[in-house]
Symmetry: C2
Subunit: 236 residues, 2 copies
């Protein structure tokens, strides 16, 4: 739990932390659907039922709140995805396939509303807000580097097609994901994601049997836990 | 040339059309960098040196101006790209490769500022403005269908890998492009695009020699002109 800037005892800290989280939650939900500029501090306060004083107790500005959303989103994404898709000692391509399946399931549940919060913010702010751009680029890079690590391992295991370049492939994987999420969002059709992910899986594992395999749950792997620590260390 | 709503003689029409174009130009430039919500009518008028009366002479609202930007962008994109990349009777995979090279060249010239205007608007407005979403989805679909046509032709010529599905591949091609443009924009690094396009080209033409070929200029093809007419007919 994150503490309010006021400090105080453990109980007070928990209470103020909860209000801070409520603000971040509401803001993240609104910004995810409407965008950063189209969401005002007033909109956020209305959604939380809190007053302006509460807001400025925890955040000096909407920008500071935006950075807090990025931090939390990066942490939640890494925690959730690393545990659910990369948690076992499965074949690295199976892990990546499980990750794509998670994204598809999420898009179906959300009926393709919102899309990727980090992608949306990158789209909206990369040319107008250098500090947002810098933080978003760092978050994408940390995630890409993690995927590159998995692809290196896949190459060692002979799972990638001959001549595959894990660094380039990891960037392409991220691009394919972000683009597919965008096209599904504009069509409001998750089958767009399913089709793009079928191509992505085929591209990663072309010429191997890995893309045909079923994903199986397995015991946690020390190697993946190590990667998790590195990823968490890299987040903005 | 598009006429102002006032009508009038040919000379007057040309003059009013020019002012309308100035407004669309300035708005498109600003919205490309800042986004739709973050660009006000006042910002647009300041950039053109025109007054409010001029704006409301041509547009009933910012929304109507936004639709005009979509129409013009779709037309310009189709004209420019169809002529430069798809104008000859080249191998369809060479045409697609030339299209990717054009996008890369454009991103380098723009130093990765702006990204894809249509992608930006789709990202920003798909969950909050149904009419924008509908028009953007139609524009993306027209372009995807055009690419699918080229991929069908590539398959007939034996240029695609065995089992390739032109419809799914065309969607993946668009997704890869949109995602790569986004990642290049957030990193401000065109090499991101170059790397992703290398993977896309390899994916489309895997197992054939088409991806290794140099792009050559060639005479216009009646088949491509037919496709151009269809694409223009489909635009919003």
């Amino acid at each position: 739990m994150q503490e309010g800037r006021s400090g105080g005892g453990q109980v007070a800290g928990r209470a103020t932390g909860a209000k801070r989280e409520r603000i971040i939650d509401a803001a993240a939900r609104l910004i995810h659907l409407r965008g950063y500029h189209a969401t005002s501090i007033e909109d956020i306060l209305r959604a939380t039922g809190l007053g302006k004083g509460n807001f400025y107790h925890y955040f000096t500005s909407k920008e500071e709140l935006g950075f807090a959303i990025l931090d939390r989103q990066t942490a939640r994404f890494a925690e959730g995805v690393l545990r659910k898709a990369f948690g076992g000692n499965r074949d690295p391509l199976e892990q990546i396939n499980a990750y794509l399946d998670l994204l598809l399931e999420g898009a179906r549940k959300a009926r393709c509303r919102g899309g990727c919060l980090m992608g949306n913010l990158a789209q909206e702010l990369s040319d107008t807000h250098e500090e947002f751009r810098r933080r978003l680029a760092r978050a994408f890079e940390a995630w890409r580097a993690f995927l590159e690590g998995r692809l290196h391992r896949a190459r060692e295991l002979g799972r990638l097609r001959p001549g595959a370049d894990p660094a380039r492939l990891s960037r392409f994987l991220l691009a394919g994901i972000e683009g597919a999420i965008l096209l599904a969002k504009v069509r409001k059709d998750a089958s767009v994601l399913a089709e793009c992910f079928t191509e992505l899986k085929a591209h990663l594992g072309a010429g191997t049997r890995a893309t045909q395999r079923q994903v199986r749950p397995a015991a946690p792997s020390p190697a993946t836990n190590g990667a998790k620590q590195r990823l968490k260390g890299q987040r903005p």
